[in-house]
Point group: C2
Chain length 301, copies 2
């Protein structure tokens, strides 16, 4: 998985900071998560091919998470896109986009499919042979979901030396990769683990923004490899965080700790603070593996 | 008048080019004309005070002319704006903005007034003691207006030496500036032009984008001081201009020439061309006073 942060600052776009948007690349599938104003320019700056984005996930309908969507949808048309585009987001998102297309006498050359969300329980919203995506119900001022991206466990890897030693024909390779033992012509049974290596471990990534401190998400993100959790404020603004249903860096770290996460990425920073390093320092008092998102930064895991 | 170009390129926002938006400063009143995606960042980059913008004019509902509006309206709230904001634009613009505010459970702290336009004739949309704004009906793929900004002729300027020589009391100064003659106590009548200087000549500015070549606008912009006219294409793409209801640089220059404009500013360039100087070269074959808009550039007139 490769995560590219296009924007990770709260509230309004500014000269050097962008509102929320990120691209998750799982085995060459690109998932766009949130789409604040200016996302299409950030995609260009980060040299991400527009044509590879087929699925867009919108957490909630606050402007800093979706005002760039209609522009991106329109630009896809100008770029002569023909591939279907799927948008997953809160109920209402279809009306917003369709109204603007209609009033501008525009249309899309490609199939535009909306998957509107309104469940308060976690649900599977996307699945193919490599990836599963579930919602993570969050608690914010409007209906909000985080998203859990789970890579599926791949096939076992063929041990080529071993299968050649046993003179096994190549037509059996797929069965072996699927985990089956093999009976040789002389009757010997060769156990699968003598013919294969373990598959590359499947990774998972959870995007949780925006939300107040909310332990209800813990069962969904238990043992997560990488957790992106919003930290709009520092603990010094704890009351403001509670009032606006946002989290502090310490609270994000507490969620990471309690979820037994391997790594925590902080983001959705208020621009009131002098340095984002302050968020890391605060979170590290609770949880050691803290990374800081920043616009244009990539993480591989 | 001071015109600041925030963006003047056609179609999508790109890394180094912005869609249409400009700020016209007339005697310290700021008028925002069009509001493509990223306009609020361009306002910051050009150090234009958000709080001074009270009137926004939207030419038409194509994304590159208004997708930045909802973000700006929201940011005004975050900046604790309290002053009324007036938005002038095609019918439908209110529904677009209100729907997004409603679905994001947001509101504005300030009075938000929509002046929806649907007339096919030129009409006065704004007037105060200093400025008059009229629509310029344009011909494009959707309902579109340009805007004519007319500075009103100011008061005559007091000739302080003259009024002191005649020992005229200061309570008469305003009457004199209004153009009246004065009768002295000894009965002599002093004609106004001996007591005043001519006022600063009133200027006018016309914004015409997007439009196909359209002589119907000529009576409205006759003798205009400064005409901003779109030139999406060069004459080599004349057919594409006709098809998409845009203009070429030569056509923009022809309108400027026939309107007896003093200056022409070109903009709304397609990014397909190597250099925007090509637009100037082509326009200058028809009309001599050609200026090129560019993002971040200002013009004083």
């Amino acid at each position: 998985m490769k995560l590219t942060i296009l924007g990770c600052y709260a509230a309004t776009p500014r000269t050097f900071t962008n509102p929320t948007s990120q691209v998750l690349d799982i085995k060459n599938r690109l998932f766009l998560i949130d789409c604040g104003e200016g996302t299409q320019v950030q995609l260009r700056k980060n040299k991400i091919r527009f044509s590879k984005i087929n699925h867009i996930f919108i957490s909630h309908l606050h402007g800093d998470h979706f005002f760039g969507l209609v522009g991106l949808v329109s630009t896809f048309t100008l770029l002569n896109r023909t591939t279907d585009l799927h948008i997953y987001g809160p109920k209402g998102i279809k009306e917003i986009i369709k109204l603007q297309l209609r009033l501008s006498n525009s249309w899309t050359n490609y199939g535009l499919f909306f998957h509107e969300l309104e469940s308060l329980e976690s649900e599977i919203v996307f699945e193919d042979d490599k990836v599963l995506v579930k919602t993570i119900p969050l608690k914010h001022r409007v209906y909000t979901n985080g998203f859990l991206f789970q890579e599926k466990i791949g096939n076992r890897k063929l041990n080529l030396d071993a299968v050649q030693n046993y003179e096994i024909e190549s037509c059996y390779y797929q069965i072996i990769k699927n985990g089956k033992d093999i009976t040789l012509e002389d009757g010997r049974i060769i156990e699968n683990d003598k013919l294969t290596f373990d598959p590359v471990p499947a990774k998972n990534y959870a995007f949780c923004s925006d939300t107040v401190y909310n332990e209800a998400m813990l069962p969904i993100i238990e043992n997560i490899d990488v957790l992106y959790h919003e930290s709009t404020f520092l603990q010094s603004e704890e009351n403001l965080a509670k009032k606006t249903l946002h989290s502090t860096a310490k609270e994000a770290a507490t969620i990471a700790f309690k979820a037994n996460a391997k790594q925590l990425i902080l983001g959705h920073y208020s621009t009131r603070y002098e340095s984002i390093e302050l968020f890391k320092e605060e979170a590290e008092t609770i949880f050691s593996e803290v990374l800081l998102a920043d616009d244009g930064k990539s993480f591989e895991f």
